[in-house]
Symmetry: C2
Subunit: 226 residues, 2 copies
Amino acid sequence: MHRTRVRIVEDALDANNTIARANREDFDRASVRVVNLMSAPGAGKTTLLEAALGELGAVRAGVLEGDVQGSLDADRIAHLHIPVVQLNTGSGFGGECHLDANMVRSALPALALSELDLLIVENVGNLVCPAEFRIGEDARVMISSVTEGEDKPLKYPLMFRTCELVVINKIDLLPHLDFDVELFRHHLDGVHPGVPTMLVSARTGEGVEGFRSWLREVAAREPVPV
Amino acid sequence: MHRTRVRIVEDALDANNTIARANREDFDRASVRVVNLMSAPGAGKTTLLEAALGELGAVRAGVLEGDVQGSLDADRIAHLHIPVVQLNTGSGFGGECHLDANMVRSALPALALSELDLLIVENVGNLVCPAEFRIGEDARVMISSVTEGEDKPLKYPLMFRTCELVVINKIDLLPHLDFDVELFRHHLDGVHPGVPTMLVSARTGEGVEGFRSWLREVAAREPVPV
């Protein structure tokens, strides 16, 4: 029975990858680069986007918001007057804990891709499942908040391994925590050697310009075949 | 295809509930009450257990630790000199994002149930999937950290609806955050009217005695048929 389950999972991932490639072809055709933004619940994905996306210069950014339920995050992003689409995963049952390629595909008709240079997909807050599903993105980035503890790379290795950048958020709280940044980086280096990190406080704005620069760099990339 | 997927999910939940009932019969036979402890990653489940379990008086407690990978949390609990078993969900692929009844069942032989009054199952850090899977527990409790924001009940309603107690942790950080406790309670009341909350700092110990009292009360309960 366990073997059957693994087979179903592999089939589902194969099907997902096929749709992810189709998404990617649409993105490439429209010259839109796509960032898959992931984190645990409450790590500050939306707050970081609020802080960063207002001042991207010539880069025309849009956001796809993934949530189990509601449109709270999309409403926050809409205040920035940039295109935003909300995608809810909560049909039936407790809802899906991640976006997959097909969900993203279903949202594409609502996005005017030709008017964008960069699409940021804010995934469902979760450190396990989102890492398993490609959505057609060019880059994966995750946010780890200093309030979550130094052990998270060891406990959720796939998520940290699959991202090309790890943003360490809420550093304004460091004076009030026992969080050891070097210990976190040591654990991170154990699961994803050499991955760059960025110290940020989305709330105070500290370090956010570095994240903006990274987004501009992604927007300027040539697409790499999936 | 979507309909097929829903069918598979329903079958899986039915099968899970059957095994959850078998677990519960074993727990009842041994007069062990079981608490399913859930939260987002880094909300403080293990720290709260470290703070609370040392002083439970006559209640003999044990812990079942659920993690995708590693035994960091079990090692921390072992320092309390109480029985602890680590369960890893990470076989193949990215790992499971929750415990299910069968995983818990597989750990039972490693637990001397006859020597326990209370078993606390620390679930995988996740606000979606753990809420969907019964494991044979008597009570469900979740921890929401004030660093995660007030909107979490609205974004993960099933998790908040399925618990009989919501512990609001890390209140020592309140002076350094914009978190509005009353707004959080208002949102919580919208998805689970009347559910009790408890303000706690696992780090400073504030409010932890209230959580201990709740654990003692659960341990003293008569089992209710599943």
